[in-house]
């Protein structure tokens, strides 16, 4: 069984500064990895996914994530935070049986 650990339950940044959300996975093989965002009262929206192609994955809204097998990490970054980035973010791993393992989530607040 695989597990996903999001290292920060809450991240607060100023508008225009970089955002870093950390995620580590535990798996005996390279899983498919995803980052999802959930805004209040909305469904989960896919930001980006890694499926064993390029290790640097670019997603929507300026987000990107880098897969590092040696560190079993898949951290999410954005160079410049916007107020609309305030939301909860989930790191997710998928094994070959199409089941998803979710991290506990990271709540991002953006200060004006």
């Amino acid at each position: 069984a695989q597990s996903v650990t999001q290292l920060d339950s809450h991240v607060s940044v100023s508008e225009g500064t970089p955002v870093l959300l950390r995620c580590n996975y535990s798996s005996s093989y390279s899983p498919s990895l995803f980052w999802y965002v959930q805004h209040p009262n909305k469904g989960l929206q896919l930001l980006l996914k890694y499926t064993s192609a390029a290790t640097l994955v670019k997603g929507i809204n300026g987000f990107e994530a880098e897969f590092k097998k040696s560190e079993t990490s898949f951290h999410l970054t954005k160079p410049s935070a916007h107020m609309s980035d305030a939301a909860e973010y989930f790191c997710v791993a998928s094994s070959g049986d199409y089941k998803l393992s979710f991290g506990a989530g990271t709540t991002v607040t953006v200060r004006a």
């Binding site: 999001q6 995803f34 999802y36 469904g43 089941k99 998803l100 989530g105």
Partner: protein
């Protein structure tokens, strides 16, 4: 593209009362369907999944059950709610690619 309808968004129920959460899918046929739950401070945990009508697999023992009476309908139920059933419930579809509902926040009082 797929769309998942999940309701209600929030629900407050007394201990011992029954529960029925419904999830319906549009835009695809024969999807894999999933029910997840997030308890406070924890990640989303898979409760049930279904690969077809009437086919339900349970991932964890619990006070809940699931049914799939139609191809695009997935129902989560309980006969008697416990305080520990409180949490955020999320329906998901895979056909292909994952689509998620907006979730139901259940508080058992």
């Amino acid at each position: 593209s797929q769309t998942i309808h999940q309701w209600p968004a929030t629900l407050v129920q007394p201990v011992g009362s029954p529960l029925s959460l419904e999830c319906t899918v549009e835009g695809t046929s024969n999807p894999n369907l999933y029910w997840y739950r997030q308890a406070a401070g924890r990640g989303l945990q898979l409760l049930f999944y279904s690969v077809g009508i009437g086919q339900i697999s349970s991932e964890v023992p619990q006070n809940l059950s699931a049914s799939r009476p139609q191809d695009r309908q997935f129902i989560l139920s309980s006969k008697k709610l416990l305080l520990s059933d409180s949490g955020f419930y999320l329906c998901a579809s895979l056909a292909p690619g994952y689509t998620f509902g907006s979730g139901t926040r259940l508080t058992v009082v």
